[in-house]
Symmetry: C2
DNA sequence: GCTATATTTCGATTATCGTCGAAATATAGG
DNA sequence: CCTATATTTCGACGATAATCGAAATATAGC
């Protein structure tokens, strides 16, 4: 991860609405949520939601995929982990302080009965 | 951790200069660095540096302590860990995806020969 | 108390971000 | 192709953030 990229990711998260969206998506997992579902949960006007989703996309923190008429958004877990790693890189000069993160990879999505 | 607080912390990090400062401090560990040292390493005018340090302080990501004429800044590692935890809270609905972080506590500072 | 060093506060300027209505685009189904 | 639904693009306005010089404050040593 590069500094500019990390700043973009952090900037995307540094907003109340976007952080809520992000956390919704984190909880949801790789399957993601449709724009409409998110708009419903957070009670946002559609144009505002799109704006924020674009920010998350451009920052590389979320992915987008179409399913029929709806667009599903999901967290890019690899990017999330990379960001964590970047923030804590070489913490305490490598001494035995071992602060925070153990990056790992999210499991691939699994089939479900109903989608959101 | 609360949402507003997390937004403040992320906003503090969402800036090229502040992210550099933060990472310098993360690497340095609990001992911290003096304002002057940071200004030297990043080649910043003093008033700009103060501005950014205040942001980190207000966001609760850094601590300040005076040592003679100099002010030392250090990362608040507990706050850093809390932020990570907040971002990944209940990831994937608690299913066995286990994405990222294992919060832990930074060790307390240890005595050193020379300070910076 | 005077001088030097370290850092902060103040103030003005410029640039970027957030909001949201209205109109445009994409997909699905008859 | 016409209608309905889902989402995005455009545009304009108000609000917030970043920069940095100059002056002010804090500490130390003589």
């Amino acid at each position: 991860m590069e500094g500019k990229h990390a700043v973009a990711a952090l900037g995307a998260l540094a907003h109340a609405t976007r952080l809520e969206i992000f956390r919704l998506l984190v909880q949801r997992g790789p399957e993601g949520l449709s724009a409409g579902t998110i708009a419903g949960k957070l009670d946002l006007p559609p144009s505002s939601l799109t704006f924020h989703l674009q920010q998350l996309l451009h920052a590389g923190l979320a992915t987008q995929r179409r399913l029929s008429r709806q667009l599903f958004y999901a967290v890019d877990f690899a990017a999330m982990n990379a960001l964590m790693a970047y923030l804590t890189e070489n913490c305490c000069g490598g001494e035995a302080c071992i602060p925070v993160c153990r990056p790992a990879v999210a499991k691939p999505p699994r089939a479900r009965r109903k989608s959101a």
